[in-house]
Amino acid sequence: MTAPIYTRADFQTDQEVRWCPGCGDYTILASVQQFLAGLSRNREEFVFISGIGCAARFPYYVNTYGMHSIHGRAPAIASGVAITRPDLSVWVITGDGDALSIGGNHLIHTLRRNVNLTILLFNNQIYGLTKGQYSPTSEIGKTTKSSPFGSIDYPFNPVSLALGAEATFVARTLDMDRSHTQKMLEAAYNHKGSAFIEIYQNCNVFNDKAFIQLTGKEERVHNRIDLEAGKPIVFDDGAKAVVMRGGEAVVVDSNSVDPKAILVHDPTNPNASVAFAVSRLSHGPYGPTPLGIFRDVNRPTYDSEVNAQVAAAKEKLGEGDLAKLIASHGTWTVDPSGNGASA
């Protein structure tokens, strides 16, 4: 069988896409469809599982298997798919409310278990679908419908949280930057185990321009820190650099330091400390903010370990024999005469 040749259209469905005009979700959808098409992998081998939220409508628009499930539970549902069907490519589509608020627990457990699936978190720093309440990534002081006097909830840094939860692959990208998004998708796809990508996504209706520091023509050069494996971390057209100082990552003027002192990015570092330090460079997209792959390390995946135990048990004990199993706790026999019994 030759590998199928797809175009983006093959991954579109007949459903009308129902996001607000201008929503960043459109761009992400296009990036994902294009990426999938480029894989030349049979369409039926993909499964997209989402929770609830604007982002979570995503599976309706991708012509693969999919489930638009319930709020926050997509990682758990996807785990059931991934564990039992290692032949499939399993994707979770979620929002900042879906993944980090109600679904926070499933997220961190899926990451620590390293179940073989990819999680795309569309972070628009707001609850879109329920029409604009602050989310666990909204900034302090944000006034929304449910925080008319300003939010007082200190936000998560999703990358730090994922690293603290023992994630093996953690990346961040931007809706608007389709080529960067596709690079992240590719790395995630090639990663064995749980891959977590935070995608900054503009909600032009309830939280417009939240990412302007990274998308604005003026601003982006100054603020976008591109992490590239094996390369020193510099940005702002080379004017700024990141160095490690006393265990912290700090931004300095490039010409104020020895070029060798500049931190060379290594996502494969088994120790997550540096990745964590790099994640602390920003707490939200309000200044210099790293994009790219923070961490990409290998650890046995949950599904392969489960299935290895099954295989080992079969190997050792042979295929289960039910008649033997039910007799395994000791039996006795009543003979046909009716009331004798022997051990």
């Binding site: 319930i70 039992t84 489960v306 289960g320 706790h329 006795w332 026999t333 009543v334 009331n339 019994a341």
Partner: protein, 623 residues
């Protein structure tokens, strides 16, 4: 006679032959009463008695030794006929310490045999149990046949030389008690001795200590002629075949494996530990060579969530818990219902509400099973009647789930889960297959796939699993168009889908057996039950019949939908009694459905019915 145990000298002790006897072992959590009870049970099973057991653990944590909350007990009834319960009140009580005596003595029938370990009846223990004076010394045990045995002393003596020393020595005293009971009840000794040697194969000194204690107990009986008469319960006239002694959780787990084999689908069990359901997880996690995949999830929601994913992916998907955990699964079960995915949800009921009485049985989750979800979601519900019935019920739950593409709630309870009974092993070959057809080809016009184009018989929607080319589709929790499966907010479609889902489930009634009455068809009174009250109801009806009353009984395995002929059958009796371990839940359903003035016998005390409680009510209603 195994090894070198002296046989009972027939000249000095008489033997009373009994039809049945109820024995309760009670002691501190550390005294090994569950082991003693199980060994006694297994020996009796191998001997050929019919039997039923009722273990009772201390509430949660190992309480400090010697206290009332720390008491653990195990009751077994053995009989020479087919019995139905573990018995109402013990004929024989073994009390290993004052707390055990205090807690259980009230239940011992007048004239019953009490075996006490006198060595534990010293001041500290008496005080812990709340005794002001030593009951062995005062008059309070009058009315029982008391056998006083210094078990600690004798056990120590017996295990000398076994290689076990120090604190571990007294660990064997349950075997001493067991030996004494083997003598008293004419039990075969080999099974117990064999078991000990096998179990402790890699701790031979422990094995030997236990065997030595066991023999010492037996010999103590022989030597001291501890009672005037010993008791014999002859083997029961059970149907021919091979038996095992099985508890409900194990039978349930095995039933799921059977369903997996019969459907050809791999079994997936997503669960979070909770008493009394955890043992299902434990049992299944051991059976990996059956292709079983277990997933200990981070919580119950993830447990059911993972099972929903596994169902979507083409597995026989199961989740299980008890009340508090089932409550958490409610939202997700509702998703499985609207997405029409096959899923088994096991609820091993315990005392509620909230944490309630975690180690006690109760049937208070029936209405919760039927109505414990938002929206109109009439999930099928079936219930096991006894430990061994759990095997069949598990297969039946799978059959319904897979045939009708629906979640099914399977109810068990703590007394079924941990209770045991002899089980005539089924012929595996004879269990019918469960037909599962994954769709392979488009079913719609122009090669489209219509995920809601239903089977005309079952009204099940087609199951197309990921990996099948050409059938890519999306399902979800929002209402879907009846044909295309696209999201639909159309009012008429919602009405249609609501009705269709309800109808699909109601229609299962055509695929379950009609109920048949047990007992007197011409009775005025029918006693209707479901779940673990099965045994108590049947036994009570028997007892009433012995007293000349006419009484019929009916038992429901299917709670939703119910058997088609239920209304008709019920209407043919003047009086309907519904005993339940709740405040009247089936009662409500029957009254609403059939407008019949059924009455309830209700108990919510964290205990099964006594046969006498049900019998009394029957007597009252058949006067």
């Amino acid at each position: 006679m195994a090894d070198d145990i002296a046989t009972v000298d027939p000249s000095s002790t008489t033997t009373e032959v009994l039809e049945k006897v109820v024995i309760r072992f009670a002691g501190d959590s550390g005294d090994g009463m569950q082991v003693a009870g199980t060994r006694f049970t297994d020996a009796s099973a191998l001997f050929g008695n019919d039997l039923a057991t009722l273990p009772s653990f201390p509430a949660e944590i190992r309480a400090p030794a010697g206290t009332l909350p720390g008491v653990s007990s195990f009751q077994v009834q053995i009989a020479d006929f087919d019995i139905l319960t573990a018995g109402d009140e013990p004929d024989c009580l073994v009390a290993m310490n004052p707390a055990a005596l205090k807690k259980h003595i009230e239940d011992l029938r007048q004239g019953g045999t009490l075996i006490v370990n006198t060595d534990t009846f010293e001041e500290r223990n008496l005080a812990k149990a709340g005794y002001e004076s030593n009951p062995l010394d005062d008059d309070s045990l009058r009315g029982y046949r008391v056998i006083k045995v210094p078990m600690d002393e004798l056990t120590k003596e017996a295990v000398k030389g076994s290689g076990v020393s120090g604190r571990s020595v007294l660990r064997s005293k349950n075997f001493f008690a067991l030996g004494l009971l083997a003598w008293l009840f004419h039990r075969p000794t080999e099974p117990t001795i064999d078991w000990a040697r096998k179990k402790f194969a890699n701790k031979p000194e422990v094995a030997e200590a236990n065997v030595a204690a066991f023999k010492a107990g037996y010999t103590f009986g022989v030597a001291t002629e501890a009672t005037k008469s010993t008791f014999e319960v002859k083997p029961a006239a059970l149907p021919a075949g091979t038996y095992t002694n099985v508890n409900g959780n194990t039978a349930l787990a095995w039933g799921l494996i059977a369903a997996s084999q019969k459907s050809g689908l791999p079994l997936f069990y997503g669960s979070y530990p909770i008493t009394p359901a955890s043992d299902i997880l434990h049992e299944l996690s051991r059976q990996k060579n059956f292709g079983v995949r277990t997933f200990q999830a981070e919580d119950e929601i993830a447990g059911v969530g993972s099972a929903i994913g596994a169902a979507f992916a083409g597995n026989l998907a199961v989740t299980g818990s008890s009340g508090p955990g089932i409550a958490l699964k409610s939202e997700a079960i509702s998703l499985a219902f609207i997405a029409e995915l096959p899923l088994i949800v096991i609820n091993v009921q315990r005392g509620g509400p909230s944490t309630g009485l975690p180690t006690k049985p109760e049937q208070s989750d029936l209405l919760f099973s039927l109505y414990g979800r938002h929206g109109e979601s009439p999930v099928p519900v079936i219930a096991a009647a006894s430990p061994s019935d759990s095997f069949e019920v598990a297969i039946e739950a799978a059959r319904i789930a897979l045939t009708y593409m629906t979640p099914v709630i399977l109810l068990s309870d703590n007394s079924i889960a941990n209770g045991s009974e002899p089980w005539l092993l089924p012929d595996i070959e004879a269990i019918p297959n469960i037909e599962v057809d994954f769709v392979k080809y488009p079913n719609g016009p122009d090669g489209t796939f219509l995920p809601y184009l239903r089977d005309v018989q079952t009204f099940a929607r087609p199951w197309a699993i990921p990996g099948t080319p050409g059938l890519e589709h999306r399902i979800g929790g929002i209402e879907k168009d009846a044909i295309t499966g696209d999201v639909s907010y159309d009012p008429k479609n919602h009405q249609l889908m609501t009705d269709t889902r309800a109808w699909k489930v109601a229609n299962i009634a055509n695929d379950i057996p009609d109920l048949s009455v047990d007992g007197d068809e011409d009775a005025d009174l029918v006693v209707l039950g479901w779940g673990s009250t099965f045994g108590a109801i049947r036994a009570a009806a028997r007892r009433a019949r012995l007293d000349g009353r006419k009484v019929a009984t009916l038992h429901l395995r299917y709670l939703n939908p119910m058997a088609r002929n239920l209304g008709e059958v019920l209407s043919s009796y003047d009086k309907i009694l519904i005993p339940e371990l709740n405040t009247g839940q089936l009662l409500k359903l029957i009254r609403a459905e059939f407008l019949l003035d059924a009455v309830g016998l209700n108990k919510v005390a964290g205990e099964p019915f006594k046969v006498s409680e049900v019998a009394e009510k029957i007597m009252e209603m058949t006067k």
